[in-house]
């Protein structure tokens, strides 16, 4: 207990620093995966992608990041087990942050496709089990989180499959694909906007001082989506179609319409990514802050301190601004044969799935969800060639990351214990 009184501020500052660094790393690296399809299909330039990502990652993290943050903060561990040992919780959370950070640096050095989410969850479970034994972890919650890692890519794949088939039915396989693209494009925009708004608003915006009833939020969602759709109509009208392009490739002009749709889904992707992944950086931080500011009291449902979510959001934006350009540049040239219609289906499916997970407080991997969605489009025979080796690597890294994160956090926790206790 004395440690908290003595070093409380110092510990919060350390946690805040590591949290910020982690958020920075997420902004610098993870966002490239989230926005990669947009840049890869050349619907957005790198600069545009970064600007969109900055705005929507921030709003996503700030407005919709609360649920997942709460899960990381107090959902995986059992708060009751820690009531007698708040100091352990504080050090453990700091250790988890550090462990996840170290693991991510190691993994990216070797080029392994690991997920930030998996590392942080593994790290938290690791320190909890070692410090206070197996009953310090809420295994059923942990189980449902791990289960969601398998299910979310599958769900995203299914949604992407259905979306892509619907696009084929309504637009590509018709007499006049371009006309139909113009007609149904706004409908898809409406759909995308509706998903984002509903998930975000239904969860409420209490923490930003905007309490809404269910009806109100539905109404607002409808209005906002309509505005998005009308904006879409406007943008699609403004497109210049060149029949000459269709000589070489019949569907060049149709894809231009999907380019507009992809801007919307790119926003959705950034928003969804921000809402889910900000927790990886600031979930542990908010646990530390909450324990220290309550003088050692641990409560399961305490609110997240007001400055924590924005801090994470700012970290992500900083990472994006400083490193985004460099990281995305490697993406722009790499993805070939991914057309906007496919990118649209994959992104919308991913964004919806991730947002749903964010709404239910499940920390999942955006990248892996996107991979699932792309596989879904592939199953609908929409992509020329998908490298199954990458999928295999993801599964392997998935299995390795949990114990690796746990092991590292145990080591770092031991070190911190030596220093402070």
């Amino acid at each position: 207990m004395e440690i908290l009184a003595q070093y409380g501020t110092q510990l919060v500052l350390i946690a805040a620093l590591f949290g910020l660094l982690m958020a920075w790393g997420i902004g610098a690296n993870d966002v490239a995966n989230a926005m990669g399809t947009s840049v890869g299909t050349k619907t957005l330039t790198i600069r545009q992608a970064i600007i969109i990502a900055m705005i929507f990652e921030f709003t996503g993290a700030y407005l919709a990041g609360g649920e997942v943050t709460s899960t990381i903060k107090g959902g995986i561990i059992d708060p009751i087990a820690f009531t007698a040992h708040p100091d352990v919780l504080v050090l453990g959370m700091i250790a988890s942050l550090l462990a996840a950070g170290v693991w991510l640096v190691v993994a990216s050095f070797f080029g392994w496709p690991v997920s930030t989410t998996h590392s942080i969850v593994g790290a938290i479970v690791g320190f909890a089990v070692v410090s206070l034994g197996a009953n310090a972890v809420q295994w059923d919650k942990f189980g449902s989180i791990v289960g969601s890692w398998v299910i979310t890519p599958a769900i995203a794949g299914l949604i992407a499959y259905v979306l892509f088939i619907s696009v084929q039915r309504l637009i590509f396989n018709t007499d006049n694909p371009l006309e139909n693209a113009k007609r149904y494009g706004p409908v898809y925009i409406f759909l995308s906007a509706m998903v984002i708004c509903l998930v975000t608003l239904q969860k409420g915006l209490n923490h930003v001082g905007l309490p809404l009833t269910s009806n109100e939020s539905t109404l607002i969602s409808l209005v906002l989506s309509l505005i998005a759709a009308i904006g879409g109509i406007f943008f699609i009208r403004r497109l210049r179609f060149n029949p000459q392009d269709d000589v070489k490739m019949h569907y060049s002009n149709v894809e231009k319409v999907f380019g507009v749709l992809m801007i919307v889904t790119a926003c959705a992707m950034a928003f969804a990514h921000g809402s889910n992944d900000v927790a990886n950086a600031i979930g542990p931080l908010s646990a530390v802050v909450s324990v220290v500011s309550h003088g050692g009291a641990i409560s399961a449902n305490s609110a997240i301190d007001w400055w924590v979510l924005p801090l994470g959001a700012v970290g992500i934006v900083l990472g994006l601004a400083m490193m985004g350009h460099k990281v995305m540049a490697t993406l722009g040239t790499g993805i070939t044969h991914l057309t906007p219609s496919r990118g649209f289906a994959a992104q919308l499916a991913t964004a919806s799935t991730v947002l749903l997970a964010s709404g239910t407080g499940l920390p999942i991997s955006t990248t892996q969800t996107l991979v699932g969605a792309i596989m879904g489009v592939g199953l609908a025979r929409g992509i020329a060639a998908i490298n199954l080796g990458v999928v295999r690597n993801i599964v392997i890294s998935w299995v390795v990351t949990l114990p690796a994160g746990a092991l590292l956090s145990i080591l770092i926790f031991g070190l911190l214990e030596k220093i402070y206790l």
Partner: protein, 226 residues
């Protein structure tokens, strides 16, 4: 976290190289026409030069073929079966081999055909080239097929092309029978060994259309696997 997760997910599409290959093959076959003209007019030097070009193009097609094979590892998830793609590639490549065989055979024996059959031969070759050209077109539609998820109108369009290939192949068979009959009627006028080879060349030219038709059949099979 590494950036290459999404990047690495997309493998290089085999479609463009496949199209490049068949285009090269067709280009190779097209040289047959000037070759025959040269032979008909006894310009053997020119024929030799053209043979060199055909040989060169056939080699280039071979290189393309090898590249595609190497870049099509088994760990790819594609809308078309890998075995089908490779089989089609083999069929495509055989067209170029036939073209080379024909020239080689004629050049080697300084084989000429009866002057009054020259027109028939030309018409026959042209019709065979129609087939290879249509094969190029059909393979060219793979881009669009991918866009439409191998469904719908685009699929019908390609199936129509494959049907057309069948028709052309039938045509060339008829032309072949006609020429064969004419040669048969005057067999005794020629050197017996020459006649044997004349029949052989006739057959090999027909093979061009046959082979193109087989490419179409492969394509159809590939698309039928829904």
């Amino acid at each position: 976290m590494p950036v290459n997760t999404i990047l690495g997910l997309f493998a290089k599409s085999p479609i463009k190289p496949l199209q490049k290959h068949i285009a090269k093959v067709h280009q190779c076959c097209e040289q047959l026409l000037p070759f025959f003209m040269a032979v008909a007019e006894d310009r053997w030097d020119e024929a030799t030069v053209i043979y060199g070009q055909i040989n060169q193009m056939e080699k280039e097609a071979d290189v393309l073929k090898r590249e595609i094979r190497l870049k099509l590892p088994s760990g790819l998830f594609m809308p078309l079966a890998r075995t089908d793609l490779l089989e089609m590639l083999t069929q495509q490549d055989k067209i170029a081999n036939r073209a080379k065989d024909i020239c080689g055979m004629m050049l080697g024996r300084k084989l000429t055909f009866p002057a009054d059959l020259s027109q028939d031969f030309q018409a026959y070759i042209k019709r065979c080239l129609d087939a290879t050209e249509l094969a190029v077109k059909a393979i060219g539609e793979l881009d669009e097929l991918l866009e439409t998820g191998f469904r719908g109108r685009e699929l019908q369009l390609v199936e129509e092309m494959v049907k057309q290939l069948d028709i052309i192949e039938d045509d060339t068979d008829q032309l072949q029978i006609g020429i064969r009959r004419k040669i048969f009627a005057r067999e005794s006028e020629f050197n017996p060994v020459d006649v044997i080879f004349l029949y052989k060349v006739l057959e090999k030219i027909g093979d061009l259309a046959d082979q193109a038709d087989r490419v179409g059949a492969r394509l159809e099979l590939m698309l039928a696997r829904n």
